[in-house]
């Protein structure tokens, strides 16, 4: 049986609900997985009517009750969503709260083993902020909800060109340099290996960057490679992970034959990931028991509610997470 994958709509007032619904009726998606929407049934009906989509909403008390029938959207609900006063492209604290209610409910389902993975449509940071909720991205949120130590959770950006996991992320460069140590690199390598296997790659090959220019050039420009990165790679290899490096981050991304790359700091990975634009990139939270990804584009208030949003990034992410596609 194809895996059950939950979709959360992200900001209900953005393009998230529209691309989620469009993805759920996509024949490739329906062929590769069994999608279920974790949201509010009334909200789903509102969007289906607004977009005149040929779909019926079927609220399900549990995943086991889902029918996955053509023309229906199986919905698992969380806290009640106040539809009064709702309009596309409008910021509301209720919307911010709902984004994380739905994501949290999906995490519970994944932890209970009812679903195989979660894909989140774009959230709006500002909506979460005005709801008074501290949120610095899904990796931290998933860590909190799964009881995973924050230092065990990593971000992997993936698009058609490459997949890049980050040993450190949203911290200042000085702080990042202090955080990079052998155990952390090894944890990131293990999380990357695990994620690539879940994406259907039997024996992942991973290229690892250095911290310094030219990966330190034998200690000439810094000793982190000798003292930290090289031993971490050796430990990963001993654990059966196909890791190579460290390579200078500037010459690494065109190396052929690698399924994934691991970099030490935010910009080493985000610069190449965004070179060809960002719209078709997926952001995987890796290192937690829950297999989670969000699309990297925004909730696009400028076109929300107009029926012209492109679901292709969400569809590509769903297909990759079902293990049928080697690319994303």
């Amino acid at each position: 049986m194809p895996p059950v994958i939950a979709i959360t709509p992200g900001d209900p007032a953005g393009i998230g609900p529209e691309i989620a619904l469009k993805a759920m009726i996509d024949p490739r998606v329906r062929g590769a997985l069994r999608p279920i929407l974790v949201a509010d049934a009334a909200l789903a009906r509102w969007w289906i009517a607004h977009l005149a989509l040929p779909l019926e909403v079927r609220p399900c008390p549990s995943v086991a009750a889902a029918a996955f029938a053509p023309g229906t959207v199986d919905v698992i609900e969380a806290a009640p969503f106040p539809l009064a006063g709702f309009a596309p492209a409008t910021l509301r604290a209720e919307n911010g709260r709902a984004i994380l209610d739905w994501a949290g409910r999906a995490v519970e389902l994944a932890q209970a083993g009812a679903i195989a993975a979660i894909v989140a449509a774009p959230q709006t940071q500002k909506a979460i902020e005005i709801a008074g909720i501290a949120f610095d991205g899904y990796p931290g949120f998933i860590a909190l909800r799964t009881g995973t130590a924050p230092e065990d959770v990593f971000l992997m950006l993936a698009n058609e060109e490459r997949r890049i996991a980050h040993v450190t992320l949203h911290v200042g460069l000085r702080r990042a340099l202090a955080l990079i140590d052998r155990p952390r690199i090894l944890r990131c390598l293990a999380a990357t290996d695990d994620a690539l296997r879940r994406l259907g790659i039997a024996r992942p090959r991973i290229a690892v960057s250095g911290v310094n220019p030219h990966a330190g050039e034998g200690g000439l420009f810094g000793r982190e490679e000798i003292e930290t990165v090289v031993p971490a790679i050796a430990a990963a290899k001993a654990a059966g992970i196909g890791a190579d490096g460290p390579f200078g981050a500037d010459i690494m991304f065109l190396k052929p034959g690698y399924d994934g790359f691991v970099v030490m700091i935010h910009d080493q990975g985000h610069i190449p990931a965004k070179l060809t634009g960002f719209d078709r990139t997926a952001a995987f939270t890796i290192g937690t028991p829950v297999f989670f990804a969000s699309v990297a584009h925004g909730s696009a208030y400028d076109i929300a509610g107009r029926g012209i949003a492109d679901p292709s990034a969400l569809i590509a992410t769903l297909l990759a997470m079902s293990g049928v596609s080697g690319v994303v």
Partner: protein, 338 residues
């Protein structure tokens, strides 16, 4: 008349790939290739041509003014004699004086206005140190010989992107410590002047990257943007330079963003080199800004591991020669600067 000034290409480390990529550059010449002469040992160039199976007539000349006439039929060479036989991949300190002589003669030709620009092949500093070379590197040597009082600035240029790393070959930890407002201002001034004079861009726009992720996000992810980078941008703008930033580095390099500026000041090596090499691995050229003459070099090293095999890729040297010609012509046409 100025447009006919030729280029010279220095020997570089004769045990490296410099000779063979120059021979390849000559064989791949077309009507648009600017005439250039090697400052090198003719006998060793003939030997390497035979070794890698290239039919290149090596043509020793005595005057640089002969380059244009000779170039269509053979590779013009201003002879520099090596002290020891060359074995590719095996550097020999006995040849260090010839390596330096080639650079010195290029400087003299440039300073006397006999050439439009120089292109330098890669050297190996360790070998030169062993022979008594006392400068940190190639660029510092050129700056010192040119009587420069301020540090030259390195730009990496490809058809798609120009980047200027403010800190370069330093451990990242040291680069963070070495970054100052003054160093960013200096790089910004030199870059703006070079874009105007050598690249013939009348009103250059310079993007300035932040140091931290998201350019520090208003101080939440580091304070260097507030304390170091922003004041430098403000000063450059006060001087009439169209500098913008500090900007998050990760959104600076996609095609739409690149259309909005002429060069990016980057705060550390990888921030500059990752986009340059990932967009276009082979065509990056190193340009030294701030010298009294135009100097470019290929963006790679001596590559001892493949020297003498003919497997080296001449793309970066070919791009360095083409860019040197363009920049040299612009500089000759530009009004003289103080």
């Amino acid at each position: 008349m100025t447009a006919t000034r030729p280029l010279v290409v220095t020997m570089g480390d004769p045990a490296g790939i410099g000779g063979e990529i120059a021979l390849m550059a000559w064989t791949r010449r077309d009507g648009a290739t600017p005439p250039f002469a090697m400052l090198d040992d003719p006998a060793r160039l003939e030997a390497i041509a035979r070794r890698i199976g290239l039919a290149v007539p090596v043509a020793p000349i005595t005057e640089v003014s002969d380059v244009a006439r000779v170039f269509p039929r053979g590779l013009p060479v201003l002879p520099v004699s090596l002290a020891a036989a060359v074995e590719p991949g095996r550097p020999d300190p006995r040849n260090a004086p010839a390596v330096i002589e080639a650079i010195d003669r290029a400087i003299d030709l440039a300073r006397t206005g006999k050439i439009a620009a120089m292109v330098t092949n890669p050297i190996n500093k360790a070998v030169l140190y062993a022979a008594g070379f006392r400068h940190p590197g190639h660029t510092e040597y050129l700056a010192d010989r040119a009587g420069l009082r301020t540090a030259p600035v390195m730009m990496l240029a490809s058809p798609a992107l120009r980047v200027v790393p403010v800190t370069i070959h330093l451990a990242l930890r040291e680069a963070v410590g070495a970054l100052t407002t003054a160093s960013i201002i200096h790089c910004g001034r030199v870059t703006a002047a070079a874009l105007m004079r050598d690249f013939a861009i009348p009103l250059p726009v310079i993007a300035v990257a932040g140091l931290n992720p998201h350019a520090g996000e208003d101080g939440h992810l580091g304070r260097e943007e507030i304390e170091i980078v922003a004041p430098a941008v403000a000063q450059l703008r006060a001087e009439g330079i169209a500098a913008h930033g500090p900007a998050p580095a990760d959104t600076l390099f996609h095609a739409r963003a690149r259309a909005g500026y002429d060069a990016v000041l980057c705060m550390y090596h990888d921030q500059a080199l990752i986009p340059l090499k990932t967009i276009d691995f082979d065509s990056g050229v190193n340009v030294t800004l701030g010298l009294p003459f135009v100097r470019t070099s290929p963006d790679h090293g001596t590559a001892y591991d493949i020297a003498g095999t003919g497997r080296a890729n001449p793309a970066s040297l070919i791009a360095a020669i083409a860019l040197a010609s363009t920049l040299g012509a612009h500089r000759l046409a530009a009004p003289a600067l103080a």
